[in-house]
C-alpha cells in the first residue's frame, strides 16, 4: 500500500500548455503539501493545506493553483507552462498537532519537463 501516491511520475509537455499532477494519501493525515525540487536540488515548499484550507503559499506564481477536494487529496494545476517550471514536484502529508514532530511523508515525485 502506497502511503502518498502521485500521478503521473513523468510528464513531458510543451511551453504554454496546462497540466495537472494528482496526489492522494491514505495515512489519514490532515495536512498536505507540494514541494518543488529545482535543478540545484533544493527542496522548497510551495503550498500547504490543512483540512482543505490553504495554510502556506510561498510566493508561487498564480499560474500554479493547488486544489484540495478533501483532506486525502491535493492536486496541482499549472497553467501556461514555462521552461523554468521543469523540476521534480513532491507531494507530502503529515499529521499536525501538539505532538507534531515535523515528519513529512513524501510521494515518489513527479518529474515535469517543459520543452
Amino acid at each position: 500500500d502506497t502511503a502518498v501516491s502521485q500521478t503521473p511520475k513523468y510528464l513531458v509537455t510543451q511551453m504554454g500548455n496546462d497540466k495537472s499532477i494528482k496526489c492522494e494519501q491514505n495515512l489519514g493525515h490532515d495536512t498536505m503539501y507540494w514541494y518543488k525540487q529545482d535543478s540545484k536540488k533544493f527542496l522548497k515548499i510551495m503550498f500547504s493545506y490543512n483540512n482543505k484550507e490553504l495554510i502556506i503559499n510561498e510566493t508561487v506564481p498564480n499560474r500554479f493553483s493547488p486544489k484540495s477536494p478533501d483532506k486525502a487529496h491535493l492536486n496541482l494545476h499549472i497553467n501556461s507552462l514555462e521552461l523554468g517550471d521543469s523540476a521534480v514536484y513532491f507531494c507530502a502529508s503529515s499529521q499536525v498537532g501538539r505532538e507534531n514532530t515535523g515528519e513529512l511523508f513524501f510521494g515518489e515525485g513527479s518529474r515535469l519537463t517543459v520543452l
Partner: protein, 113 residues
C-alpha cells in the same frame, strides 16, 4: 529568513567506516531539525530528528549531534553500509505547526563495499 546549508555535495566512505554528514543553519526559530534520506526516483524518507533540548539523538546506527552555539548539526552513520548510499537532506522544521521544512541542498553519500 531561515537558511540551511550542506556544504559538501558528496561524500565517499568505505563500508564499515563512519560517515559524517554536516549541516549549518541560520535564523532557526526553534532549533528543531530533521534528516531525510532519498534514493533515486523515490521521495525523501524521514531518518532522525533532534530538538533544541538535546545535543544528541541516537537511533541504531544513526546519531545526530546539534551544536546550537555553532549553529551546526551533523549526522553520523556507523558502521556505514552500501545500502546507506543515498542523498541525505537536513531540514529545519521552523517551529511552525504546519510542517514547513527548510531543506539543505543535500549530500550524496556513496558507501563502497
Amino acid at each position: 529568513d531561515q537558511q540551511v546549508k550542506q556544504n559538501s555535495p558528496s561524500l565517499s566512505v568505505q563500508e564499515g567506516r563512519i560517515s559524517i554528514l554536516n549541516c549549518d543553519y541560520t535564523n532557526s526559530m526553534f532549533d528543531y531539525f530533521l534528516w531525510y534520506k532519498k534514493y533515486p526516483a523515490e521521495g525523501p524518507t524521514f531518518l532522525i530528528s533532534i530538538s533544541s533540548i538535546k545535543d544528541k539523538n541516537e537511533d541504531g546506527r544513526f546519531t545526530v549531534f546539534l551544536n546550537k552555539s555553532a549553529k551546526h548539526l551533523s549526522l553520523h552513520i556507523v558502521p556505514s553500509q552500501p545500502g546507506d548510499s543515498a542523498v541525505y537532506f537536513c531540514a529545519d522544521a521552523g517551529g511552525t505547526s504546519y510542517g514547513k521544512l527548510t531543506f539543505g541542498q543535500g549530500t550524496i553519500l556513496t558507501v563502497h563495499p
